[in-house]
Symmetry: C2
Subunit: 173 residues, 2 copies
């Protein structure tokens, strides 16, 4: 009750296309962002690492390695899909923030979400990192459950891990 | 900014004798407890499981197993030490809360901190669990780093894991 100075914190929220990260964002908006705060909310979306499907399309020509992985058509399709997903996620997240947060910034970065999230948290000197408890993005299955663990262990700032209740009556409070 | 209804959340903070958990509590008081809130803060201290050193002293007589572990004197000393530590930690934590939180409850439970924390979070239907990132209590070394991981994976409510900055200029914000 003693704190009357408006807070000016950088709150980093890692979002993905899963419902859990949107729930985490919603929980954060209701429970972490304080009234009359000057908090800045930074929405971070980690796109699947380009290396997974597109590291080899830089020259425009087919290499034997590229042929071994995917055709150029598939690469382009995946890249487009990935951009569409990113845009959709960010749009949805921004809509959720509109009523509650004064300042919202958006970052979309490519890479392993574990690395991306830790690096951005460090770089912007976040005051708190908020995330769902599961994996992120297209490579969700490969990292199931390990992204939040990894970040909790490696990020220096406080980490808030939010789980979506499975069949709770109220959902968010 | 839309939320004008005072929050009435149950905020469970796991404390131990380490500086990190006190930092976590302090961070929570400054960043999670909202002004004009009706939040209830529940301080939870997990005492080392009695089974570790005192399961066998119930009869007052020495069994061959007890002799194998500790003498009765050592058991009594450890039990007293453990109670003193618990009292000291709780006292310190309550002092920290005095200015910021309206309602503070205290719980001291015996057992593996991983189980104790998860069980209490569940039992009281906590809205958020706050903890340091390291182990708890006398058995810290045995579980280093795994308590917060375990809780983040098993507790249903959001979990806020707070690390103490190593050589940050400002400490808490």
């Amino acid at each position: 009750m003693a704190d009357v100075v408006p807070k000016e914190r950088k709150i980093l929220v890692a979002v993905d296309e899963g419902e859990e990260s949107m729930y985490a964002l919603s929980w954060c908006l209701k429970n972490v962002i304080s009234q009359n705060s000057k908090d800045t909310l930074i929405l971070l979306y980690a796109k699947p690492p380009r290396a997974v499907y597109s590291a080899l399309d830089g020259t425009g020509s087919r290499s034997h390695l590229q042929g071994y992985l995917f055709s150029a058509d598939i690469l382009a399709t995946m890249e487009k899909y990935s951009n569409d997903v990113a845009a959709c996620v960010i749009e949805k997240a921004k809509r959720m923030c509109r009523e509650q947060a004064d300042e919202v910034e958006v970052r979309v970065e490519s890479g392993d979400p574990r690395d991306v999230i830790c690096q951005v948290a460090e770089k912007i000197n976040a005051d708190v990192l908020v995330m769902g408890s599961h994996g992120y993005g297209l490579i969700k299955r490969a990292f199931l459950g390990s992204v939040s663990n990894h970040c909790a262990q490696n990020v220096k700032c406080p980490v808030l891990i939010v789980k979506k209740p499975k069949c709770s009556s109220s959902g968010t409070k």
